[in-house]
Symmetry: C2
Subunit: 369 residues, 2 copies
């Protein structure tokens, strides 16, 4: 494990995005999305993904200098074409539009097509919270999840994020995949030689399995709810909602046609849309009630749930977003931990792109690298 000061990791990430041709502004923005994920302890969506973005760019599937633009609009809705750019850049562009519309009309909603992986959904939703708005962000993703009663991977882990401002407490941020478990959890179990719990995945022939390699070998992840008796049709329904808002409404791809995130898998033929899709929104809190009233009641809500009677005295009820808020504070102070594999991957990336490596001594940076 290596532990890096935030600013050093930020400067390195900025160099990577610059090296593939991003503008200064785009590189800073994309860097901010990834570093925010690492600060929040969502390692799977931080700099660990940098080399994957670069490989997509090498394969000509990522436009490092996109010109995103509005292709359809009403006072409070819009569709943005991301010009094949990084979702890390395109989604913030779209969220700015949603926030601007909300400032004028109370709410704003933007569907995005022709984009790529947008990092953590929470980053985008929290942009609205900073303006005393409720933030919403969803995205579709490479197909890995089978709908209830099917063995076919037709849906991504399609995350949903809602973020709400609070008063004395940190914002409430619900940011969740709509599958029972993330694919990364299967990979962790696989590396440790451990079985996975039943209810996470199907074998390629559609049986429940405890084999951590099931998805790698052609099986599928299960929707939240795991099986019909426990509500997998609800997880499937939520994932379908995300896919329709992100893909069908925007003119992006959807279902099994969503292009894979990894460069070694080719997009399927006859795609019905453009790239992957997102959907973001913002609603002004004071479009419904005064902000101070809302925040006071949010604080009461949070305090009541934090104080709830526990199953196990050692384990309090967790407020959505609270662990990530605490991780951010810790990682800002102590530095961001990087596992050895990610560290090595970033150093190889530096060599490939001929940029200064991560460990370079005496490196001095400014806030955005």
């Amino acid at each position: 494990m290596n532990i890096l000061p935030e600013e050093r990791l930020r400067a390195f990430t900025h160099r990577v995005f610059k090296a593939i041709g991003c503008s200064d502004a785009d590189a800073s923005l994309a860097t901010d999305v990834l570093i925010t994920a690492d600060l929040r302890g969502v390692d799977s969506h931080g700099v660990a993904r940098l080399s994957g973005y670069v490989r997509l760019w090498e394969n000509g599937r990522l436009n490092a200098a996109p010109k995103p633009r509005i292709v359809h609009e009403t006072p409070t809705t819009a569709t943005v074409d991301g010009d094949g750019g990084l979702g890390l850049v395109v989604a913030p562009y779209a969220m700015e539009i949603a926030i601007e519309k909300a400032k004028h009309y109370g709410s704003g909603w933007v569907a995005i097509r022709n984009s790529n992986h947008f990092g953590i959904a929470g980053y985008h939703a929290l942009k609205a919270v900073a303006q005393d708005m409720i933030g919403y962000a969803v995205t579709n993703a490479s197909p890995l999840v089978a709908p209830t009663f099917s063995t076919e991977r037709l849906l991504g882990t399609n995350p949903i994020c809602y973020a709400f401002p609070a008063g004395k407490y940190p914002p409430v941020v619900v940011d969740m995949a709509t599958s029972a478990a993330a694919n990364g959890k299967l990979e962790v179990a696989g590396r440790a030689g451990k079985p996975i719990p039943e209810g996470w995945a199907l074998s390629p022939d559609g049986r429940t399995t405890t084999d951590a390699a099931a998805v790698k070998n052609g099986g599928a992840l299960l929707p939240l709810g795991s099986d019909r008796a426990h509500g997998s049709h609800k997880g499937y329904g939520l994932s379908a909602t995300v896919d329709i808002l992100s893909g069908v409404l925007s003119g992006a791809n959807y279902g099994p046609w969503v292009p894979p995130f990894v460069a070694y898998l080719q997009p399927v033929a006859d795609q019905p849309g453009h790239g992957i899709g997102h959907f973001v929104g913002a609603m002004r809190v004071d479009g419904f009630r005064p902000v101070a009233d809302f925040k006071a009641h949010m604080d009461q809500w949070i305090a009541r749930f934090k104080g709830a009677k526990r199953v196990n005295e050692q384990q309090p009820v967790i407020i959505p977003g609270e662990p990530e808020y605490e991780a951010t504070h810790t990682n800002r102070v102590n530095g961001i931990p990087l596992v050895e594999a990610v560290w090595a991957d970033l150093q190889q990336l530096a060599a490939k792109l001929e940029i200064a490596p991560l460990a370079m001594e005496g490196e001095h940076t400014t806030g955005n690298g």
Copy 2:
């Protein structure tokens, strides 16, 4: 089992609402919400609830002649005070406002406080679909669900509904409680003397249980996901989102303060808000892309999912909303089935309210009774 023509059940239901003092228009609207649930096969939310609404009215906890009004507004947002009326009447009033705002500005969002149970969420969301809009409806509800790591009932089964228009296929309607199972399923198992699957409920001391009487005896329902390993924190997060939008944002009650639906349970003291809360919204499809394009791609989405590879050859993948659409057709043609207990309950209700009973021969009615 009694099977009744839709119109006869509609006329009876209208008589009940009139008998407690609803206006003709309100009685027709409330009737339409309940009969739509029965037509869709969602028996738990149809006329089976009539006597419960009447008992709340008898206890002075329901205003049969409410004057709902907008108490806060921007061009695309509003908060409605339901004046303690039936949610069956107040929610459609609010949805009309959302649709009207969407017509002018692209989208409309309305938070509702001081209301009561609003029936099936799908009814309200489908109002938007009829205008080629995407419909959204959520509500908080009597606390029955414990958040992850707690034994306390702090959340309702807080349903989420998204409804999308399609082309040649019926609309896609995702309408789901955010708990692993509905309380009604425990009651069915209890009456049959059967255990429930693990993952539906906690015993009063916080252990997983297969006892169908667990919730009745002071236990709690579990969120969608059932346990931490299978994502119960996601079900809890979704339910929290519904509670915040419906309760905290509107000025209604939230969490454990939401008043019970049943008249024999008293609301807790020191309520922070007014009645129960809902949140509804509408977005014009053509605020994002031409309606014909959207519908063509919805049809492709639906066809692809319907045709997905099956686990079991006899069981196709189900499109959300499809079973309810088919049930509506069947029940329109064959009549609405009522189990004996509901039939008896409605006849007692007729006697109490001194109105013509359900089975009365030679009854002739018009469309809205």
